[in-house]
Every structure is written in structure tokens, then in C-alpha cells.
Symmetry: C2
Subunit: 362 residues, 2 copies
């Protein structure tokens, strides 16, 4: 437990309360100014290639009947975060809701009616302080696994992630306190499916290629995205993303790369603009003779593709070509379809070849 | 890699082919007799308290046009399993499908049109040989985490599961080859949500109580259920199951305890009849003054409850009382609602008290 960890967050949280009290003493109406989230205040910054929040804000004042309850709830959440930081404890969003529900005086009215009231205010807090909720000790749901050439230090334990059998390390909801103790990897391979992750562990891919494997199990959870971000920025590792060759796989990639509209206010900490898309690529189908193991696009796939063609972050010649090729060919291809060649093929030929030739999309 | 591992399975698989060849040589119609699965051939064995398969069977013959393709597919799957066992490789169900699709000669017809054709035949193989598909080296999807007082040996690695930071061990899809190297736990606590699992890691619950924590993340995956089964049968540990107090939590418990209708043919290896239900119990609400953090039952909850009241495995006085109490009170309660008392409450009071007093349901 470091002495400084959380100190700056505590000061920021206290400032919310102190400012309100000072306003009241001056007989002024206490207010909190919160950046607006959502599409109307989001833009894609082309230079840094991340989704960012604009400068629109909204104000929440105490002496406005429409705001009073929310004002109180906001300060309650700030107070809870301060308590968590002081006690060096973490709480899930659900626990936070249960901690805060019905805890003011003897009143019969609930302070919070449901988690749908507390969650957005926690996002407000992140936006307001420009701090990850994980750094305020509030955790999201966890999903995903890590395996390979890295030693982690976590809560006093030293974990050699290349010696975790066939299981790997479960990526926790909050990875802020994990330290990269020793990195012997040349790159990180982010994998969509847990089955492919298991395939590559069985093939000893991490050991043979000095790699770190990260399984997202579908859309990457916050802890997983934050870990990828830190592996790129702190450990300075190249990041390759390996998903199914379908519109959903592209979407998973785009969220890892430039963040999401929902979390635009924290793209610096969640997005990894330097990551690259390894596959599955449409050109793989011909190159590796996989014509017989493609699947026909469904209507939903086509609809998503049409949308992705318009996204700002897919406005590169490479991605326009890729997306149009999928539309024209009318098929998608899964990463596990490579098993049609042989089980080893993905580990012994496909991936090493792609990486050596830098056969990737931006 | 042991010399004997998989040998008996290989012999069983070879027998399928040898029998068919012998039949052909005798100019007889080769046939495979497979136990029927599904509700019509399933019963609840009260003594051992598991769901079992009856003795109805169906026959698949080569020289019946309606059976020929399926007969071929069945032998193809047997051949694939043999290859996997010989090579000491594992394949996911999806990989198995891709390995087998379109692989006979130069014909234009697919051998398998989709995974919906290969999956049921793999279940046939499990039923026929009375062997887990994991022992035939075919893996299901993984989900779940392990943490606590146990050392595992897996693929040559020794893993101390009490020294895995805040993450824990990712439970792989196949746990057949994992050895329990050293067990210093008094019991296993199976937990429905990953958030509660993280709470208990943070509270050092495993260390303080000499426990093993298993997070199922909702319905327990096959690997997770098999691990619980082995912890009960091989490591001889008591198993406590800790879910939300709602019909879905009860369902998760019942599947861990007596297996499922789908997998009735393998209840011995997937069910854990000795496990007990720790909570959340309806009586907890009054006992721990949790009235303000319950949630109203929804229509779907009531419907499920009515169904569960009729299930044979809930025909005990304790469960009938519990289910009826929920119907009468009209509420459900989540495990994370205990955070309303304090974050530590679950680890320092609720769980130790329940376990000490054996305040559990059968």
C-alpha cells in the first residue's frame, strides 16, 4: 500500500465538497459543472486517432428542485469514493449502489432507486475529475485472460504468467495496481475467442515467439482494455489484434484501438491507437485456400458493414478496401476456421508469417 | 505426457471402426447403438441424488439411406478423437467442425453442413463410450476463475493459487489433466458473481478461512463443474454454493448439485450431490435486516419459481419452504446486497457464521 496512491484523487473529491460548503457560506447556490457525454459532444481526433469528448458542459445546482436529489447523490458518490480510497478497498458498481441506498437519516425516501441512478453519476465523476473509476476504487465487471512472457506484481504476489498451465491469469476488473515486473515479450497478441487462446497456449506459442496472449472473450472489458493500453504505453510493446473476420470482430478491434463513444472522456487510458489488425483478413481466404470454410454474411452483418464503412476511424484506404471486399465476397471467416488446414497451422504458419511480413491493417 | 493417458479411450474408439469392418466382412449391416438422450430417457435417482439416463437406445445403420450420412459422420468424429488423443492435442468444438468439414475425397458435398451437425454427434460419442468429451480431447467454452488454498500441477507448471494477486487462475475448458498437488483448504466456496469473488480476494477470505474460491460467472461452465466435482470427490472437500437468492441462483445450484438434463449421461462426472446451498436464503433478509435492499420478483421469476417447486430435486422440506417463502415474500436478494451492511460484512460475519453453524440448505 503506497502512501501516495489515491492521494490526488482524494484531494479532487474533497474539493467537490469544500467548494459546495464555501458557496453555501457565501450564500451562493452550490454548483457542479460536468462535461456532457454522448454523441452530441464526441468527436474523432484524427491526429491522435482516438475518440474524444468536446467542451460542452452541463451544470447541476443544489437549489434547483430538478437538480437537488442528483446533487445530493453526486456528493454521496464522491464521499463513498473517498472512503474507499482511504480504506484501500474496492467496490463493484453493484456494491456501491447497495452501500448508498437508503442511508441518509431516518427519511423514508430512498437515496437511490436503482443502479440505473448510480451508474451514470459514477460516469459523471469520471468525466468531472478526468480519472478512471477504477482509480476511485469502483470496479466494472471482469472478463478475459492473460498468458505469456511477462511477470506481474499484484498485491504482493509475483506472478510468472508463462507458468500458469493451461489456465492463464484471470484479468481482474481493476488492473491499476498491477506492476509489470519483468517483460520478456516482443509483442502482445490480443485474441477474440478463449478457444483460440487455449489453442495458442497448447501450441506453446507464447514461449516460442516471446509473446503475451490476451483473450478478450468477445468485446474487451474495461480491465482488459486498460491492460492492453498499459502494455502498449508502459511496456512499449507492439499490439496485434486477432479477431474473427466479420463486422463484429472489426468492431472489437476499433474499440480497443480508439476507444468507444461511451467512454470518449477516457480514451487516453482505454484506447490504444498504436495497435494493429492482424486478421482474419478477407485476403486470407484466397491466400490460404479457405474458401470452403467461410460463412455467408447475414443481413445483420451487411447492415453493420454499411455502418462501419461510414465510421471516421475506418476512413483509410486499407479499411475501405477490406470492408468493401467483404461486402463483395458476401462471406465472413472465423479465426477457428484456420483449423481446417491443421490445428497447428495458426501457430506455426499463419501468425508468425503475418507478423514477420507486417501483413496487418492500420 | 503419460503413456497410458487416453489409451483406453483410443481402444474404445477403435472398436467402433473394427466392429463396422467386421460386420461388412460378414456381409452384415454395420450398426452403432446409442443411448437416447433428452427428457424421454432421463430420470432423477433419489438415492444418489443425480439426474441419470434411462436405458432406451437408438440404432444407426450404414445401409439405411436415412442413416448413411450420420453413420459416416459418427465414424469421422471417432477418427478425429483418436487422432487428437494420439497427438496429445485438444480441439474446441468449433475447431473439430472445421477440421471435419469437407474433408472426404474430391466430392463436392460437405461432410458437415454446420456445427449443429457435429455437436450432437459428439454428445452421441460421449453417451456411447460413457466418457467425457474432454477425455476425447474436445473442449467446450471456458468460463470461471479459481483462487485460494490449493496448488495445482498443470502441463508441468506448479501453480500456487493463493498467490495469484487479484486475478486468480482462469479455469480452462478441460481440467482433466490438472493434478491437485497440495490442498490446504478446509472447504470450497462456489460463487455466482465475479464481483463477489473479487470482494473475497480483497478481504483475504481464502487465507483467513483456508478456503478455495471458485467463481462460476453465472451458470457454471463444464470445466468449472468438473473441477467442483473433482474437488469434492478427489480432494474430499465440502462444497458450499453461494449465489443470489433468486430462482436463477437456485437453478445454478441445482445444476452444480445433480447435473443437468442435457448431460444426464455424465452426471457422475459433472454433478456434485454432496454440495450444499449456503445462500442467499430468504431467512437472511430478516436475520440480517436486509429488507431495504431486496428487489421485487418479476413475472419471469415467479414463473421459474413455480417450475422449481415441481422439480423432483427440490422435493425436500427445506427447499419447499424456501421456494414458498420467496413466493410469499415476493422478493429476491442479491449476494452483493450484503454490501449494504459494510463491504467487509460478507467476509467477516455472513460467511463464517453460516459455515460454522451449518446454516445451509441440502
Amino acid at each position: 500500500m503506497s502512501e501516495t496512491m489515491g492521494d490526488s484523487e482524494i484531494k479532487q473529491l474533497e474539493k467537490i465538497g469544500k467548494t459546495a460548503v464555501a458557496d453555501l457560506k457565501k450564500e451562493e447556490n452550490p454548483k457542479i459543472t460536468i462535461p456532457l457525454r454522448g454523441l452530441s459532444n464526441v468527436y474523432f481526433e484524427k491526429k491522435e486517432k482516438v475518440i474524444r469528448l468536446g467542451d460542452k458542459t452541463s451544470q447541476r445546482t443544489l437549489l434547483n428542485v430538478a437538480h437537488t436529489k442528483k446533487f445530493m447523490q453526486t456528493t454521496m458518490i464522491a464521499a463513498l469514493c473517498k472512503r474507499l480510497l482511504k480504506a484501500q478497498k474496492h467496490a463493484s458498481l453493484r456494491e456501491a449502489y447497495y452501500q448508498l441506498k437508503h442511508s441518509v437519516g431516518d427519511g423514508h425516501e430512498n437515496t437511490f432507486e436503482g443502479q440505473e441512478e448510480s451508474d451514470p453519476l459514477i460516469e459523471d465523476m469520471e468525466t468531472l475529475l478526468h480519472v478512471l473509476r477504477e482509480k476511485l476504487h469502483l470496479s466494472a465487471d471482469r472478463r478475459g485472460y492473460l498468458y505469456g512472457n511477462i511477470q506481474l506484481e499484484d498485491r504482493g504476489d509475483i506472478i510468472d504468467c508463462s507458468k500458469l498451465g493451461s489456465g492463464g491469469f484471470g484479468i481482474p476488473s481493476t488492473i491499476e495496481e498491477i506492476k509489470f515486473k519483468k517483460v520478456t515479450a516482443n509483442y502482445v497478441l490480443v485474441i477474440e475467442t478463449a478457444a483460440m487462446f487455449e489453442r495458442l497456449i497448447e501450441e506453446k506459442f507464447a514461449q516460442k515467439n516471446k509473446a503475451i496472449l490476451v483473450a478478450t472473450q468477445g468485446q474487451a472489458a474495461r480491465g482488459c482494455r486498460r491492460l492492453i493500453n498499459r502494455l502498449a504505453n508502459e511496456a512499449k510493446l507492439p499490439i496485434y489484434v486477432f479477431t474473427d473476420g466479420d463486422p463484429y470482430g472489426y468492431y472489437i478491434y476499433s474499440v480497443i484501438k480508439q476507444g468507444s463513444i461511451n467512454l470518449a472522456y477516457l480514451s487516453d487510458q482505454f484506447g490504444t491507437p498504436a495497435c494493429r489488425f492482424l486478421g482474419m483478413q478477407m485476403s486470407d481466404i484466397k491466400k490460404y485456400k479457405l474458401e470452403k470454410v467461410t460463412e455467408k454474411l447475414k443481413d445483420l452483418d451487411r447492415k453493420r458493414l454499411e455502418e462501419e464503412l461510414k465510421y471516421q476511424w475506418f476512413q483509410t484506404p486499407e479499411w475501405q478496401k477490406e470492408l468493401n471486399m467483404m461486402l463483395t465476397m458476401g462471406v465472413r471467416i472465423e479465426q477457428q476456421a484456420l483449423a481446417h488446414k491443421s490445428l497447428e497451422f495458426v501457430a506455426e504458419e499463419y501468425l508468425p508469417e503475418k507478423i514477420e511480413k507486417e501483413d496487418v491493417l492500420p
